[in-house]
Symmetry: C2
Subunit: 291 residues, 2 copies
């Protein structure tokens, strides 16, 4: 099976679980349920759940053990996109080529849709807590990554430094590590936490580098990509005075950094006992992606 087929297998498996989850979601009023499902079903590459399933396979952790964690992380990721797209935040009218949640349901409902997804993620995680202490630890790890010492700290710093001329490499590192980085580390280390922490530090380092690689290739694509392929407004970051890795290191500097990060990812994976073939190809996929 080649990389594309394996990727599709993982993402289809996840989408199956997500569909079941959405089918059970029958909260009222209808607009609330609809707005949650709208954003969950906008598509996207399902990078986080694919990573969780792949690492579970690498470590020999049963996939049914990790699925609710993968769901919870995708719900948290989706809530963060809904709130990030709001007019008072990044003010983005498009997400994955379709109208943002608040463009369809209005800003008030979009705030509630985000709140609802975050809360529902914890509903899934608390259910898992009954399975044992390692499940509680995994839930806590996700919570730390998503919270005020993780993703929300990154979003807050990002908002604060809009149009800030004193913005520098250190600020960029803080934002990238927290805003996008930590919620890419979480799906990678969860399977490790569930099997007693095997390869935890290697996987955490891998997740950190992969998250940064993903963010930098995103910046490069924002300059070089096309609307059709990315499905979101392009060149927006520069226009609004947001500094990115391209602004800080230059286009070629950013690409060089991406190469170094990809190489570090490969080295970390090769140090892990097991078949890391898919994850190695995943690194190449992120480095060379065009969308």
């Amino acid at each position: 099976m080649d990389f594309g087929e394996k990727y599709a297998q993982y993402s289809n498996e996840f989408n199956g679980a997500l569909n079941e989850f959405c089918a059970r979601l029958d909260c009222r009023p209808q607009i609330l349920a609809e707005s949650l499902k709208y954003s969950l079903n906008l598509g996207g590459k399902r990078i986080r759940p694919v990573l969780t399933l792949a690492v579970a396979d690498l470590l020999g952790v049963e996939r049914r053990k990790v699925m609710n964690f993968a769901l919870a992380i995708e719900l948290i990721h989706t809530y963060s996109l809904i709130h990030d797209d709001l007019p008072e935040m990044d003010d983005d009218d498009f997400r994955r080529g379709k109208p943002s949640n608040h463009k369809v349901f209005g800003t008030g409902n979009a705030v509630l849709a985000g709140d609802g997804l975050l809360n529902t993620a914890y509903s899934l995680l608390l259910k898992e807590c009954k399975n044992g202490t390692e499940f509680i630890s995994a839930a806590e790890y996700i919570c730390d990554c998503a919270g005020v010492y993780g993703m929300i700290a990154g979003q807050s710093a990002d908002l604060m430094h809009e149009n800030d001329e004193s913005y520098n490499e250190k600020t960029l590192d803080f934002i990238y590590e927290n805003k996008t980085g930590k919620l890419l580390v979480a799906p990678i280390v969860v399977p490790s936490i569930l099997c007693g922490g095997r390869c935890f530090s290697e996987l955490k380092a891998f997740g950190k580098d992969l998250g940064l690689l993903f963010q930098i290739t995103d910046d490069v694509l924002d300059v070089e990509g096309s609307f059709e392929k990315l499905g979101k407004s392009l060149g927006k970051d520069g226009k609004e005075g947001k500094y990115t890795s391209v602004a800080v290191y230059g286009l070629n500097g950013a690409k060089l950094r991406a190469d170094v990060l990809a190489e570090r990812c490969r080295t970390l994976l090769e140090g892990i006992d097991g078949d890391a073939g898919f994850l190695l190809q995943f690194v190449d996929f992120v480095r060379s992606r065009k969308a």
Copy 2:
């Protein structure tokens, strides 16, 4: 010790725990930590934590067991107020006589402050999960009350029915039960869940009636009260086409309903084995409050 003294004792005990919690909260950027603490320290009557401590005393549950649950519920309550006050929601510039979070920190930061408080509430709850299955059950109960089958459903219905002429008693019941009701049931039943469910159904019924009593007296005060005493914009509900119990039942009808609910609360409390003196006085305090 009279009611006022006992109330002050409970709320001071809670505020002590909240102060300790705030002192440990050192997330970056500073504006994030400040915006969280601003709303947590706006004062308020601390009704929910006072109820938790009082029910814990009634059932003989150690207070140190319930304190993090009381904190988590107050954080969830505070996040809901921040998001509710946003321009796209209730659009309220004042909260407890002081500028709303978004008036001080801006709407973007207010969205994040709410998200941060919700996430931090779950961080507290997940820590408690390690203490045993009854702690997990209590955390799940709170999550259900706060989520898309609870508070968020109520907020969504409230938003949907603004200026809706087909609004009726049934809609009002749904909004009151969910938007404010469930997060008043949670602090009352948590101590029961932590001691194996003693008096669970009586306390749940009591919480439901007390929540409705609280909401109806709030509506009456919105018509009869004064800005100085309430610390929020008055007569706002009617102005914006929001139906309230006063709009549905009339002022005297609403007061009569409040009397019936207060009497039901007393009957439920009298059926519980133990010293419910403080909680009985609490009912009178809610029924006759002027602010």
